[in-house]
Symmetry: C2
Subunit: 250 residues, 2 copies
């Protein structure tokens, strides 16, 4: 007899997690709502504590829930910021500005803290792109609504920016790009490489990330009209806080 293949039942913790996920995705549980705790799940499903815990850990690692010590597990909030890559072709020029995904694009102020400026020897890849290892590095952290959302490390060829405001805290009006323009090396072209991955431990600390939050890593190179690379900027964004938008022609 051919045994008809019985689909194996998922383990208990998965079925509990599936139920909770369904409640979240269906909207029965909304942003910030409290999930049933470990004790509640133990009683409701007649399981050991470790099993209830494992179910909750699934949702936490999926980024759908956030645990709060001594309080409970809560549905994760998602309030993205819209970051425009190429603004040159503003979407509204040829569309009605219809976005697929919502985001609070409105003027929420950025705060910049933890600025560090140093002269360093760049790592290999950056030295290759900039054509030299001697660089000035500007490290910054950006916050919106008091929450850190982005880390940014900019590298400039030392030979180019030595002695200019780019090596100082206050870069003056227009920022570093205006200063590069003053030097006759205004950025004219950009290339951005975008990846997503789980955060490294120091990023988890600096961006205050809960478990289950990926980061978006952007590597951006600024070139002059002559094709000379004048800046390499490596950014790390809290993926739950961002929608990137790029507009371009066929």
């Amino acid at each position: 007899m051919q045994q008809s293949p019985v689909p194996p039942e998922p383990p208990i913790y998965r079925r509990i997690a599936d139920g909770l996920r369904e409640a979240i995705l269906s909207g029965a549980l909304r942003d910030g709502d409290r999930l049933p705790g470990e004790n509640a799940l133990m009683a409701e499903h007649r399981v050991a504590r470790a099993t209830a815990r494992q179910a909750l850990s699934v949702l936490i690692n999926e980024g759908l829930a956030v645990p709060k010590r001594g309080s409970g597990v809560y549905v994760r909030l998602f309030r993205p910021i819209r970051r425009h890559g190429s603004r040159r072709l503003a979407q509204r020029q040829w569309g009605q500005g219809q976005a697929i995904w919502d985001s609070d694009t409105a003027g929420r102020p950025y705060a910049v803290d933890e600025v560090e400026i140093d002269r360093e020897v760049a790592e290999e890849e950056i030295a290759r792109v900039l054509g030299g290892a001697e660089v000035w590095v500007r490290r910054r952290r950006y916050s919106v609504d008091g929450r850190p959302v982005q880390l940014s490390v900019s590298c400039f060829p030392a030979a180019l920016v030595e002695g200019t405001p780019i090596t100082r805290q206050d870069t003056g009006p227009g920022g570093v790009y205006a200063r590069l323009g003053d030097l006759g090396h205004a950025p004219a072209h950009f290339t951005e490489e975008v990846r997503a991955r789980m955060p490294h431990p120091h990023e988890t600390v600096q961006l205050d990330l809960p478990a289950g939050t990926p980061v978006i890593a952007i590597g951006r190179v600024a070139y002059t009209a002559e094709g000379v690379a004048v800046e390499v900027n490596e950014m790390v964004l809290d993926a739950a806080s961002y929608v990137l938008q790029y507009d371009f022609d066929a």
Copy 2:
């Protein structure tokens, strides 16, 4: 007396995980290498099995390691594909094509499987962008080197494409964009919205994702020169398999 604030020691499982992570990031353990198993960690650190397990789960959820049943836990492989957003400004036109992140951009063939074509009523956001809820939908899955890497769902206004090859499996030479051109609605502008998040369960299955792998979700809208939206394409990419590249002018 003011008690000097002692930095609290991290828990055991974290210190084990930190050690393993260090070994991975430093290159002592390389792509595909086997990590110390649960039994090895129990013996080496004199801990219970659940603790050793918890340490490994940290690395797995960080996407640094992949468990294989009955075999062991292995260092995760990372072989990204380079996906170009705007090719119009090829990087090599004004640079030496120096990329920050490596990727196998070379001609690795895409395979398309699980094609589904249906006439449907679109969800609200897509209906709003396309200006109508009646749509033809093309669902596809792409694989590279036999591994699924991308899911894609394209929606077209039904009124526009009814009866054309776009509603059939074989769209003919040039694909759907060429057919839209035949209809006098050639795409001229694109906007892409990029997010990263942890995968939903069905995406985990369809893309065969190990734990700790985020996905990149791209929402792409194609507009004609007149500004009419003619396609909405929602893609979900295995984040570990992709580097997105966008080039644009200042």
